[in-house]
């Protein structure tokens, strides 16, 4: 595996499977009364969050702590770090403090890439969501969740619905799921599909009903409030009618199909409350799996430089 996790495209099929299999082993720790392994004792993980994201930050924090790493949370929101100069200075500060891994969430696409390739830090960089680019650990936890319910993803049909244009979740999932052999269909109004999407390894559709007929997974994306007033679609109600997973559409899903959402949800907008709370919704489980997947990512990135024998040993959970 590479030294950093910046994009789902960094992962070969073998890399992805290694992370997912490792996460499966680590997930058992999550279900134990004492949820802790000594694996990363003495190592430091910095959560560098330039954007608010309580869910993702807590998930990474829990993952690092369960591996016994020291965690420093750096929330840049509200301080005067909107200028890029500060990204560099912040990075140099973290480096000086001896960070072994930096988990970064940033509003600017490519900021984690910049951090990893600029020479400002030597530590591993994990992209925890950058602008409208990618969110690879979200894709990993989604794939992990799908595998728990559906087994091998080869040939499985996954339908991702919503604001693909601005969604880092959709980008990362499209790449990772394709790597894992799944057939991905992105469904959105034409205004919310990026130009050039024909080059992606996915199918696209404007018609949700048609796409749902044979799907194994349906993943609903959050529609951000700021899209409402920018003419991407005429109104929230029309969006909901055409692209929402309501009770009627839910009833027509194949029986084994699962429903996913990266959260936070707009109930009544892209997903109805009944669907969100149904037995086939795995939305809460996604959160649990997120911790296990992030443990696997931190473990594999941070122990990569150690000798193989000790890591093997430490991983025997």
């Amino acid at each position: 595996m590479k030294h950093h996790l910046l994009s789902s495209s960094d992962l070969s099929r073998d890399d992805a499977l290694l992370i997912l299999d490792t996460a499966a082993e680590l997930r058992s720790v999550v279900d134990r009364p004492i949820k802790k392994l000594p694996t990363l004792r003495g190592r430091t993980v910095v959560n560098l969050f330039f954007e608010d994201s309580t869910r993702t930050r807590i998930s990474f924090e829990a993952a690092a702590k369960r591996l016994s790493a020291d965690v420093i949370n750096f929330s840049a929101k509200g301080s005067s770090v909107s200028k890029g100069e500060s990204l560099k200075d912040t990075a140099l500060t973290l480096e000086a403090m001896g960070a072994d891994a930096v988990v970064i969430r940033h509003g600017s696409s490519g900021a984690p890439h910049r951090l990893a390739t600029s020479g400002w830090v030597r530590s591993s960089v994990v992209n925890a969501g950058d602008g409208t680019h990618e969110h690879p650990t979200q894709a990993l936890l989604d794939a992990f969740t799908m595998r728990r319910h559906l087994g091998d993803l080869e040939g499985r049909r996954v339908t991702i619905v919503g604001d693909v244009l601005h969604s880092r979740v959709a980008r990362s999932n499209a790449l990772l799921l394709s790597t894992l052999g799944a057939e991905v269909t992105l469904v959105a109004p034409p205004t919310l599909l990026p130009v050039g999407i024909s080059a992606w390894p996915v199918e696209t559709s404007y018609d949700l009903d048609k796409a749902l007929e044979k799907t194994d997974v349906v993943m609903m994306l959050r529609v951000q409030n700021e899209r409402m007033n920018a003419s991407f679609f005429p109104s929230a109600r029309e969006y909901s009618r055409r692209y929402g997973l309501d009770d009627r559409r839910f009833a027509r899903l194949p029986d084994h199909a699962i429903v996913m959402h990266p959260g936070p949800m707009n109930r009544g907008m892209e997903i109805s409350a009944n669907v969100a709370d149904s037995a086939r919704s795995v939305i809460v489980e996604q959160v649990t799996n997120g911790v296990a997947v992030r443990m696997a990512v931190l473990y594999l990135l941070m122990s990569g430089s150690d000798e193989g024998s000790t890591t093997e040993q430490e991983l025997s959970v």
């Binding site: 100069e85 990204l87 696409s109 900021a111 390739t117 130009v195 050039g196 992606w200």
Partner: protein, 426 residues
Amino acid sequence: MTSYLLRGVSVMGAAPSDLLLHEGRIAEAADAPSHVVTVDVAGLVALPGLVDLHTHLREPGREDAETVDTGSRAAAMGGFTAVHAMANTDPVADTAGVVEQVWHLGQAAGYCDVRPVGAVTVGLRGQQLAELGAMADSDARVRVFSDDGICVSDAVLMRRALEYVKAFDGVIAQHSQEPRLTEGAQMNEGTMSGILGMRGWPAVAEEAIIARDCLLAGHVGSRLHICHVSTAGSVELVRWAKSKGWNVTAEVTPHHLLLTDELAATYDPIYKVNPPLRTADDVEALRAGLADGTIDCVATDHAPHPTEDKECEWGAAAMGMLGLETALSVVQHTMVETGLLDWAGVADRMSVRPARIGRVDSHGRPLQLGAPAHVTLVDTSTSRVVDRLQTESLSRNTPFDGMELPGSVVATFLAGRPTVLDGKLQ
């Protein structure tokens, strides 16, 4: 004043001859005075001094990025003898006072003729015409007007500006960018922007304004110059406008002749520029347009930025790249070595036509007896690896760092006086 006899020089690629620079003009070699300095320049190509229609010298206001002095040093090193200083300074060059200040600073520096560009609208705000006539009548004798960096998007204001400058033979140099289509835009809209998750700057935002402005220029019978054409569609539109007989000219930057939007995958904002780097198909169309004369000239859009404005994440970075010291090498690489232009063609696109568009009378003249001795000597046989630290500019934001490019400017003469000799600034 020292006279120089350039022995064995190849004027615009022609057979070797001798060129005498005497009393600021090109004179008969046989009439060389006894104290003449003879320079053996066998094998070098002589071009009329290069003229840049599009340079950001940043003074007044951003003297941390560039000054008129440092920018004109860089210009001389690049073989330029005249540059047009864009108006987006602070304060904006929208009054006779500011353009005269810039003009005087250029005279004081003495490395090239600095021709200030006047703003079209007050403060570049796109609401009210600046005093174009006052700038035209000032010591700076402004003929090129531009809100470069910002598009004159209001159709009525653009029409009025085009009409108004006819009174003093001015030209409106438009930065063609439909503002609503490019809000928050970071890079060319296409396959790469979709993959990289960056807000796209679609070709149509440039082309829609070019189409409109060509129609306006045709309608009012005025002169339109289109800054930094960057798309294949724009080349087609300019070709169409010229076929109508309208007085439309266009420029292309060296970076748009060479670099593509795939470089954005590095997320290194050294490649962030406005208009953005486009696709390989666009690059090909731009080269073809420059070769057939649809695009009149190469203009650098030399845009210095201090380190901290580029040493950051893409979204926060400033747009623009250096160009003066690499322009001729990029043109040799993309146009001469590909067989698209010969050296006479380079002289036409980098000196003759830009001088004519800017109404810089003493520049862009054939290297013939009696012409002002603005001469650039190029060693076309060498190559070099561009080093961002080796520059006369105050800034270091060249996208060509580490690239091997052909050719080097050996000497630049401004009215017979060397500003660069033996590749060194004088």
